[in-house]
Amino acid sequence: MTESLIPVIGVVTDIRIDTPDVKTFRVVTPDGKKAFEHKPGQCAMLSIPGVGEAMFSITSSPTNTEFMEFSIKKCGCLTTWLHAMEVGQQVTIRGPYGNPFPVDTTFKGKDLLFIAGGIGLAPLRSVINYVRHYRDQYGKVDIVYGSRSKDDLVDYKEIIDEWMTTEGINVHLTIDREQEGWDGHVGFVPNYVKELGFDVNKTAIICGPPIMIKFTLAGLQELGFNKTQVFTTMELRMKCGVGKCGRCNIGNKYVCKDGPVFRCDQLDELPNEY
């Protein structure tokens, strides 16, 4: 019998330094393949045996047939270890876990508005690149992305070289405070969203620090958005990934299997414990 708690081996084949505290790791199996297929918004458990195991969103798009990528912020025991890795290091991987964004249903044909703060871009990058791959199946795309500083923008090169040059995609970058060498927008994401004043027929996808999500959602509602048009992805402590260990339980939902993607009106039915 297969056992979801038993992982397989992954090899880190590339490490990209995104920001002072975020690196993007490319992972394949020892024979050079993807460990498994996933859908945009799903997650995987990565581990270094003896150090720990944790859930990370898969930042690469499923349309990438060669490898999976994980953008990871250094903030705890395991992530500090991962940041110290060199290319060629093996890790363990299991997944995919959770419900994806409804890219093949609700999002189809819609104008999409992605709003991300800091490392919150990681789960959305998978969706954005999926939408870029199937460009003709979606409407206009707007991406509002903000960080503390220019140096804290994750995927910066890809945003400039690939996203900004894709037909029908508008990228709106912002940083929290003035910085030398930055002539773009300065200000917090929620305020910038309101300033930009988006059309209310869009479907919005938000990910970032809880406080950013809270104020951005309020801002969108001021603009006339309904919560049923807004999706987000959540993060809680997880151990099993399959709805059994009990850690990510909120109300009658388990973030690992019923989430991590939720429509914002669905969150109103749950206790505010996230």
Binding site: C75, Q89, Q90, L236, C240, G246, N252, P271
Partner: protein
Amino acid sequence: MKKIALSKLNDFFAAIAAEEKLYLPVDGEKGTDYKLWSEGVTYSRALNTNRSAKDFFFPQTENIVDFKREGKTIEVIDTRTEAEDFVVFGVRACDARSFGILDKVFLADPVDSFYASRRAHGTIVTMACTRPAETCFCGAFGIDMTAPEGDISCWIAEDALWLSANTEKGEALLNKVASLTEEGDTAAVDAQKAAVKEIAKKLPLQNLPTDAFKGDVLLEKFNSAKWPELSKACLGCGTCTFVCPTCQCYDVFDFDTGHGVKRARCWDSCMYSDFTKMAHGNSRNSQVERFRQRFMHKLVYFPMNNGGEFGCVGCGRCLSKCPINMNIVKVMKSLGGDAE
């Protein structure tokens, strides 16, 4: 229905133990707990064990997988072995129901292979209660203490053990001990059932208010103003979760043996502050929130996902073990509108 004279009980145990491991309640210095039967061990007819019977299928700690790390390479070693056949004798109706609740978690897709293997190899022989305690409230959850579930149900009446198989596994076990049993009518058992049901009716907790937790009550109960008062004295010791037959939350941790890494899981408790602690914060920072989580899960969240079945079987262990005398009964009475 089969019967065995109580004078032959030891032969009955010996016959089972000759083929597979047999566990049953045994009295000890610290009360009654399940022990492996061997010649000379006496079955205890105490009302219930200190620890629940969940250990047999979901042990407190178990190895999941081993790893070897060398340089940059990692080896995954699947250490799983098929469980051995075993029999648990003397399980009470409340604990027997708890297996069905654990099944809904561990046998749901994707199946937990560790639990499933033990479930497949374990035969549960239950024992009807004759002297329930004031802390018993299985009846509130629709459990009949006089007709426990399990692969075989047993009654002790009129100097005999009466057995009735409920499953193929139970039939198979009865066949193995066929030479010791004889056919009996149900009169003695029926009389006992009727008498015990009369006792049960008089128990103070058998009619706890459960209706208040049915339907669309999640936010109403979650937002109740009563939680701070109810949880005020909670020490967060987690005893209630460890003795609980239905608590199934677990932690996964790695242990470096010096020769490799053992990954294991062990029981965990939503009552502990570390349970939801992450690098960037904790979603349940106070004991009020953690206390509320445990009871909301048993009384509202679990039933919502499982056709209304509550995550409590009324065994009463948390009532007798809690150091500050707080328990699910008080929570149900308070939130169910029957505060005393």
